[in-house]
Amino acid sequence: MARVLSFTIVLGTAVTVILFWRRVWWFPPNISTQGAGVDREFGLTLLVTGILFVAAQLILAYCIGRGRKSGRAAYNTGNLRMEVARAVLAAATFIGLALSSYRTWARMYFIGAPRNALRIQVEAEQFAYWFRYPGPDGVFGPMHLRLVNDATGNYFGLDPTRDPASRDDIVTATLGIPENRPIELLLMSRDVIHSFYVPQLRIQQDIVPGMVIPIHFTATRTGDYEIVCTQLCGLGHYAMRAPLKVMKEPNFKKWLAKQAAEQ
């Protein structure tokens, strides 16, 4: 049994290392400016934990496979100096890793969006997302809860007859954004907690009713992606998603004009 178990542990460790090394299953390619920091941090952590993982499993397998076969084990109750040294080393390694992620986190959350960022409101409900662009005036018209009506398409409760700022607002079911321009999203939910997750953007943020949560990013590659909900929000949770379209600036302008024309 000793051999079977130590062989199993060694084999399992080898398979795990190979699967990570060959990147058989991996992250989708990063398409945002802050994503590189996330990926770098993941790589660094993988290296450190990978070494610890392999070392611990191999020592365990060795102890099992090569245990003492005769006589008595050594009466060894510990070695304080060694234990303290290893604890300090572990603390330094782990805290170092946590500190090294500080910069990326600060870039995502401590620094606000740049002034030239395109601001878009995101409203989540069971089980859909709606997006609102402020239009040429750059101002979001006020929302009136009583006017919110999905059947008539008034997802944000706008009253264009009385609020001039609402007249040029553009509401869409697709999040269209220009490439290489900072985007600020204002996340809101009207019913339960939802989430905004785009794996390629390396962004995930819960959307909490009663709060407006801003996030910002810059997409660096055009293409069609998916926004998915990651916070359990009810029976349609698994199917709650919206398209994300990253376009070149001129294409984005055309796209937005087309959306405005369809309002």
Partner: protein, 594 residues
């Protein structure tokens, strides 16, 4: 802390079947009741996980018999998305509360804490009985929701409001199902609080002469620290449950903000509540809960590695302090569940550093387990195999916690299968390995018979390989962006991952099937196992002292005196007198003087 003489309270022998086996105040009977309650819950929870896994891998498959079980949840055997969420909620709740909290702590702890510290009963036997029956009622309330209108709760074991706070308007299962869930968990909290008081008092007041705290077995230390964690954390969950129930039933607004529109309907009468408040309260309980599940298994692993490597625990004092440190730090890290919740991003950084700090005592434990094994003379009993498996699985699950402790990395991996892999390995599977090793180890003491070792070893190797095959691939799913808690995978980007999902499902079916060997062995050995001797494992702790030694035990030494040079046998029991008048002898006399 002064060790005191165990106060033998004369008790009348219980009369009649009901008083002896059902409404018993005997700690051993209560421990076994908890154990079988946990075993039953584990089997139900495993069955639910099978149904979920089959549905995830083959969403269009009609599952035979499921339609008869729930006509609404699975018409013609086709699972609805809401029924999937009900199964998910029940699986998580059953496993976390009724298995991982119940078996290692309340089950084994009740059976063996008094025995290991030389007490002949828990401090409050009647309270102990009440704790169990509250837990039993709590389980009944939870399971009854399968027959409630709308089915069981669908909001997961975390029950975030407003989903869980507004009633059936937010979805089926959020009416009666969710109410029953809250009632069940509140009852469970009360039972756990009473149990925790009992454990703490027993440990502090009823130790035998000479049983100083630093001579206690690491299992007893783990139960003691876990009980303190339970006392402090379940109190908060109980309060949170009461508040949530008030929001649902009495129109208060602890967690419900103003201006909600659900299914096109405006929610009136709520204002000023915060869903984040629930998250804070829940995770203030929820994170210590992780340690409640794992600390007893850690203690047991230390205990078994020493016993079956025939070596003292490497760094006993460091192990004790690591247990205490994990317990203390466990209360300071709850925010790492909330990096993406919308809480203040500056606090995320503090929680991140505290979280990696808690990895240090865990690393100390792992080092010392390997140190205990190093150069040991291993006896690979089934109990030992599961303890070794625990170390391997704990490492594989624990290290991934470092990724999740770094906020920007967590942003990418949060709520994906990476997290599912992490906690199923480090807390679920590792604690299950603890439960298995405890069962194989203590079965002779609990039931007077031995379990079958051959079946045990087959059970071990299948479970060990199965656990890795089920949960390791989930790391890759999470990295590829596969979100958890989805009833089906309809997104195009998830389609390339379906072969991996089918592999996991097949492995899960195999892993589950292997548990039938355990159930067969358990019940077979209960009636037909070989009769066990007084101390079949040649262990040192007091639960293995022969009944003929009488009740007035005196302890002369620490719990892990294996391979002591110059001794005839390779182990010295804690109550064996030491003729040489050593430090141990002095400790016993000091204890006596108090």
């Amino acid at each position: 802390m002064t060790p005191t003489h165990s106060q033998a309270i004369p008790r009348k022998a219980a009369r009649g079947f009901l008083r002896k086996y059902v409404f018993s105040t005997d700690h051993q009977i209560i421990g076994k009741q908890y154990y079988f309650l946990a075993l039953f819950s584990a089997l139900v929870a495993m069955l639910l996980s099978w149904l979920m896994r089959v549905h995830l891998a083959w969403p269009r498959l009609a599952i035979p018999g499921l339609g008869e079980l729930s006509a609404a949840g699975a018409p013609n055997g086709m699972m609805t998305p809401e029924y999937y969420l009900s199964l998910l909620t029940m699986h998580g709740t059953l496993m976390i509360f009724f298995v991982l909290t119940t078996a290692p702590q309340s089950g084994f702890g009740n059976c063996f804490l008094p025995a290991q510290i030389g007490a002949d009963e828990m401090a409050f036997p009647r309270l102990n009985m009440l704790s169990f029956w509250l837990t039993f009622t709590s389980l009944g309330a939870l399971l009854s929701s399968f027959w409630a209108r709308g089915g069981p709760a669908t909001s997961g074991w975390t029950a975030y409001p407003p989903l869980s706070g507004l009633g059936s308007i937010t979805g089926p299962g959020e009416g009666w199902g969710q109410s029953l869930w809250i009632i069940s968990i509140a009852l469970f909290c009360v039972g756990s609080l009473l149990g925790a008081l009992n454990f703490i008092t027993t440990t502090l007041d009823l130790r035998a002469r000479g049983m100083t705290l630093m001579r206690m077995p690491l299992t007893a230390w783990a139960w003691f620290v876990t009980a303190i964690l339970m006392l402090l954390s379940f109190a908060v969950l109980l309060a949170a449950c009461v508040l949530l129930m008030l929001d649902r039933a009495a129109g208060t607004s602890f967690f419900i903000p103003a201006g909600l529109i659900v299914s096109g309907q405006m929610i009136q009468g709520h204002q000023g509540g915060s869903p984040l408040l629930w998250e804070h309260l829940f995770w203030f309980f929820g994170h210590p809960e992780v340690y409640i599940a794992i600390l007893p298994a850690m203690g047991l692993t230390s205990h078994l590695l020493s016993c079956f490597a025939r070596k003292p625990v490497f760094g006993y004092r460091a192990m004790v302090w690591a247990t205490i440190a994990i317990g203390f730090l466990g209360f300071l890290v709850w925010g790492h569940h909330m990096f993406v919740s919308g809480m203040n991003p500056y606090s995320a950084f503090a929680f991140s550093v505290l979280t990696v700090v808690i990895a240090v005592p865990s690393a100390v434990k792992t080092f010392n387990w390997l140190g205990t094994l190093w150069g040991g003379r291993l006896r690979l009993t089934t109990a030992m195999l599961f303890a070794l498996g625990f170390v391997s699985i704990f490492v594989s699950g624990g290290l991934s916690g470092i990724f999740l402790a770094e906020p920007p990395v967590d942003v990418q991996l949060h709520a994906t299968y990476f997290v599912v892999a992490h906690f199923h390995l480090v807390m679920g599977m590792a604690a299950m390995f603890g439960i298995f090793s405890g069962t194989y180890f203590w079965f002779p003491k609990m039931f007077g018979r031995m379990m079958n070792e051959t079946l045990g070893k087959i059970h071990f190797i299948l479970t060990f390989i199965g656990a890795y095959c089920v949960f390791m691939p989930m790391y890759f799913l999470g990295m590829a962006g596969n979100v958890r808690r989805y009833a089906q995978f309809v997104d195009p980007y998830l389609q390339p991952l379906m072969p991996l999902h089918r592999f996991i499902t097949v492995a899960a079916l195999g892993l589950g099937a292997a548990q039938m060997i355990f159930v067969f062995n358990l019940f077979g050995s209960l009636f037909g196992g070989e009769k066990a001797g007084e101390n079949p494992w040649e262990a040192t702790t007091l639960e293995w002292v022969a009944a003929s030694a009488g009740k007035d035990l005196v302890v002369y030494r620490g719990a892990y005196e294996y391979a002591v040079p110059g001794k005839e046998k390779d182990y010295v029991m804690q109550n064996a007198p030491d003729a040489s008048g050593s430090r141990a002898e002095k400790g016993a006399r000091d204890g006596n003087a108090n």
